[in-house]
Every structure is written in C-alpha cells, then in structure tokens.
C-alpha cells in the first residue's frame, strides 16, 4: 500500500490528473456512441427505408436517392388506420380500467388495515409470473361461448385482468413514498379515507401513477399473444395486422417500414418519458431508481 506521502502528492496534483483522465475517456465515449447507434441500426434503417420509393429499396443502402413521403400517404389511406384506432381504443380503455381498479387496491394495501395485505400483494404479483398460454384455451372457449371473441370489449376485459397486477406492482412503491403522517393528519381533520384518497394520495403519487399508466399502455399496445388468438377482423390490433402484412402484401418493404415506424413511435415516445419511474416501479422499490 502507498504511504501517506504519496497519497498527499496524488491529492495535490489532482487537477492535471483529471485532465489526463478526460483525454483517456474519449475512446470510451466514442465506443458507447457507436454501440448506441449500431444497436438501433434496425430502427434507423426502418426509418430510412420508409422514405424510399419501392423501386429504391433494393439493394440495401443507407442513401435515400429520391426521398418521398408517398409511403406514409398511401399507408394512411390504407386499412391500417382502422387497426390503429382499434388498438388505441383498447389500449386507452384498458389503461383507465386498470388504474381505476388497481390503484384503490394499492391504497388499501399500503394505508388500509388489511390483516393479510402482504399475502394479497403477493397473490397479485404471482399472477404475473404465469405464462399466458396457461389460460388461453379456456379463455378462448369462454369467449367463443359468450360472444366476446373478436370484440373490443373482450380484449379490454382480458387486458384489464392481466395488467391490474402490474398496476398494483408498480404503484406500491410510489404510494409507500407518501408519508403516513400526511394521511393521519387529514384523518384528524375529519376527512374520510375516500376523500383523502382523491385529495391527498392521488396528487402526491401522480407522477408514479401516470408512469404506470404509460407502461400499461405500452404493454397493451404491443401485446401479441392474446390478440392473435382472440381476434380475427373486428377487434384485431396493430400487432396482428403487422404479422399478417407480409403474407398479404408481398414485398412492399418501403410501405412496411412506413407502417412500422408509425406504430412503433407512440410506445417509444411514452417509454422515453417514463423511463426513470419504470425502474423504480418495476423493481418494487427493492432497488432504488
């Protein structure tokens, strides 16, 4: 180990050392920039191709010879708009239903005097461990029997059931952040638990609840398994349309890329906005975000 003198010395020449460090860091910075750009290459190239004419797609090239918005114009007049609308209706409705049913549970779990609140929390958590294939066959038969198959209502129901546990999982750590005293003092003011939920808890945990909603939106918008098995035409979502695009349309890659860009953007932008809170919520506060 170094003796005290050398340590003192190192401390004194800290400034030049830092400069040297800065120079050393440049290659690392270049590498991470390259990694980031390459990691997204499929997405860049998708974006680039979406501005090419169909004739310019092959051979692959990063150069757009004749930039055009034509693909977007065609695609937006296409039936995809209906799928986007259906997806939007299903996603937004599911988000609100999940929050409306889920957040009160978290409130009860965190601030209520439930005797087995931990067991209830873990029961909700455990349902998210199960693969959707475990339920698909009975759900399919039940949907067929009750006429819910291929309906918006059916899809909203299934996504609400699947994502309520996610809401409880995520919002728990945000509600735990609200100091218990705040609620107690409002109790003393004589306001009911229901009133304090709306007047105190919701505003204080707003950020976390909104991020949770964004995450549920992303999950539902992107969900594939239930959608492909439980819908055909009337309630088919965007992922189902995408999966069938290739078999139906043949090699229209520029249009394929234009559609892909359109449907990928909403969840991506929401994801960027929510990234910080996602960490905190998803890890149940087990690790600090």
């Amino acid at each position: 180990m170094r003796d005290r003198r050398t340590r003192g010395l190192r401390r004194r020449d800290r400034v030049p050392r830092r400069k040297r460090r800065a120079l050393h860091r440049i290659p690392g910075i270049v590498v991470i920039w390259l990694v980031a750009i390459l990691w997204c290459f499929p997405l860049w190239y998708m974006l680039i191709t979406s501005f090419k004419g169909e004739a310019d797609v092959l051979p692959p090239s990063l150069w757009i010879a004749h930039p055009t918005l034509g693909n977007y114009a065609i695609v937006l007049r296409h039936e995809i708009v209906r799928y986007i609308l259906d997806s939007a209706v299903i996603s937004v409705s599911s988000v609100f239903a999940c929050l409306a049913f889920g957040v009160p549970v978290t409130y009860a779990l965190v601030f209520g005097r439930l005797r087995h609140s931990d067991n209830l929390f873990f029961w909700f958590l455990s349902t998210t461990l199960l693969p959707p294939v475990a339920v698909i066959v009975p759900v399919f038969l039940l949907f067929r029997l009750s006429g819910l198959l291929d309906t918006l209502g059916g899809m909203i129901l299934i996504y609400t059931g699947v994502n309520i546990p996610i809401v409880i999982w995520m919002t728990r750590s945000f509600l735990l952040d609200v100091p218990q005293e705040v609620l107690e003092s409002s109790d003393m003011d004589g306001s009911s638990r229901l009133r304090s939920f709306f007047n105190i808890i919701l505003p204080l945990a707003r950020q976390g609840i909104i991020s949770t909603g964004l995450l549920v939106f992303i999950f539902v918008w992107n969900e594939f398994f239930f959608s492909i098995n439980l819908t055909y035409v009337h309630a088919a979502t965007v992922p189902v349309y995408m999966a069938s695009f290739m078999t139906q349309e043949g090699l229209f890659w520029a249009k394929l890329c234009a559609i892909s860009t359109l449907v990928v953007l909403p969840p991506m932008v929401l994801g960027w906005l929510a990234q910080r809170s996602l960490v905190k919520g998803l890890t149940i506060g087990a690790v600090k975000g």
Binding site: M1, R10, P42, L43, P132, V137, L256, C257, V264
Partner: protein
C-alpha cells in the same frame, strides 16, 4: 377494504379460474373441430402422450437454451453498457435513450424488420454483405433459427437490463468511489470488488424479471421462424399455441400448458433460491 374487491374478481376471472379449467381440460380428449367425437375423460393420457413425444423434449431444450443464453448475454451486455453510460459526457442522455429504445418496440415489428430488411438472405443486409464478401448468406432461418431467436431477444431485452443496472450504478455513493480512487484501486479491481457487489441486487432483479418475461416469449417466434424448421426454434408457449390452434386438440394443449406452468414456476423458484434473497423482503 371493499375497494379491492372488483380488482380481485377481475384478476381471478381472467387469470385464476382459467388455470383451473386448463387443469381440468388436460384430463380429457376434446378436439374442438370434431364435435361428433365429443369430450371423453382419459385421465393422464395427454400427459403420457407429451412425455413420450420427441418434439416435446426438443421444445423444452429450446426453451432452456433460449432463456439461459439470452439472459447471460443480456446480463453481460447490460453491465458493460451501463458502466459506459454511468459517466458524464456530451450526449449521455441521447445515447441512453437510443440504447433503451428497442425495448419499447412491439414483438411483431421487431420480428418483421429483422426478418426482412436486415436478415433476409437475398434482399436484406445479410444477403448484401454475403455478396460483398463473395460468400453464401448466413442461414438465419434454417439451421441457425434458434440463434436468430436468441439474437432478437437479446436485442430487445438488453435495454431493459441497462435501465435497471444503470440505476444501480448511479446509486453508488460518490464517497465510495472517491475513496477507492484515492486508495489507487485499479479499474478492474474497482469493478469486481466494489461496483459489481454493490449493484448485485439490481442485477438479480433484472435477471429475475428477465426470466419471467423471456419464458413467455411468443410474438418474436411467431413472426420470424414460426418455430421452424420443424420444432427447431419453438419454445413452450409456441408449442402450446401450435397444438391448440392448429391441431384444435385442446386437451393435449391444456396438458402442455400445465407442464409449461410447472416448468416456469420451477425455474423462477430455482433462481429465487439461488439468489437466496427475496425481492419482497427488501421492499
């Protein structure tokens, strides 16, 4: 509180009741498209059929390979990228945002984009580089279809690992790092004996959540390889789908689903025990 009741009912109806139904259905012979055959109770015959079928073992092996390899890749790359991102440099926020973006791309689009413009052997970049080098294009959808699935999962899930592990690194108190620096600890020592142990909790959480999600992967396989050729790139969820909706043999499919659930829970429990700590206890 009464407030929780509706949520409990909905979740139970959508997730719990069907599992019991699945359990029951796994004991019958029932081919939905042949109502003339009716529904007959056959006991454990569906399970016997599964455990004597070669396809099933291949699918289980595939599932294990996909899960283990992609989680290892995600963990290693997740740690590496997070270390590189845990600094102040021009554009750090842009770089982080870029790296996490693939996580938000839907399976259907990720699969199609990779399958067409990137990996297609005649018209994608795969074919382009092959002709440039004068070699045959890499066979992503034949012999190497399982590898393709692993690559796509790693591409989508490494960002998730970065999100969580980076948060861990940014949590290390500056004093800890400073004192290590003053002590003159080398970069590698610093990494192995200080940083990794401190963020171990984060790594475990990422791997555990990753396991839960990767075991459910379906869309990627559906749009790229369709589990093929044969069953060479099918995992358990895809196998259930194929027996249920292509063969309409719901009894058999239900039995595979039950086996899938058991394997999933065993895998999660094993990892849980391996980490020995439970996330719940620290929460």
């Amino acid at each position: 509180m009464l407030l929780s009741l509706p949520a409990i009912v909905i979740v139970a109806v959508v997730t719990q009741a069907p599992i019991l139904a699945t359990l029951g259905m796994s004991l019958v012979k029932w081919i939905v498209v042949r109502p003339d055959l009716g529904v007959t109770f056959i006991g454990l015959d569906n399970y016997r059929e599964i455990f004597t079928s070669w396809d099933f073992y291949q699918v289980v092996l595939n599932t294990a390979l996909i899960t283990v390899v992609s989680l290892v890749v995600c963990t290693v790359l997740g740690i590496l990228f997070s270390l590189m991102l845990n600094r102040d440099f021009p554009g750090v926020n842009v770089v982080r945002t870029l790296i996490i973006s693939p996580f938000f791309v839907m399976d259907a689009v990720a699969g199609i984009i990779w399958r067409t413009i990137i990996l297609n052997s005649s018209f994608g970049w795969n074919g382009y580089f092959a002709s440039l080098l004068g070699t045959k294009p890499f066979d992503f959808f034949g012999v190497h279809s399982l590898l393709t699935i692993v690559i796509l999962i790693a591409w989508q899930w490494t960002p998730f690992f970065v999100l969580i592990i980076l948060a861990g690194l940014q949590n290390i108190p500056q004093e800890v790092m400073d004192s290590a620096r003053v002590d003159g600890t080398g970069w590698l020592r610093e990494l192995v004996s200080i940083r990794i142990p401190v963020i171990m909790n984060h790594i475990e959480v990422a791997v555990l959540l990753g396991l839960i999600f990767v075991l459910k992967v379906f869309g990627i396989i559906f749009v790229t390889t369709r589990g093929g050729p044969g069953y060479s790139s099918a995992n358990l969820p895809y196998y259930v789908y194929k027996t249920a909706f292509l063969g309409w043999d719901v009894g058999h499919a239900a039995a595979v689903a039950v086996v899938t659930v058991v394997i999933t829970l065993l895998a999660i429990a094993a990892l849980f025990r391996w980490f020995r700590r439970r996330i719940g206890e620290t929460a």
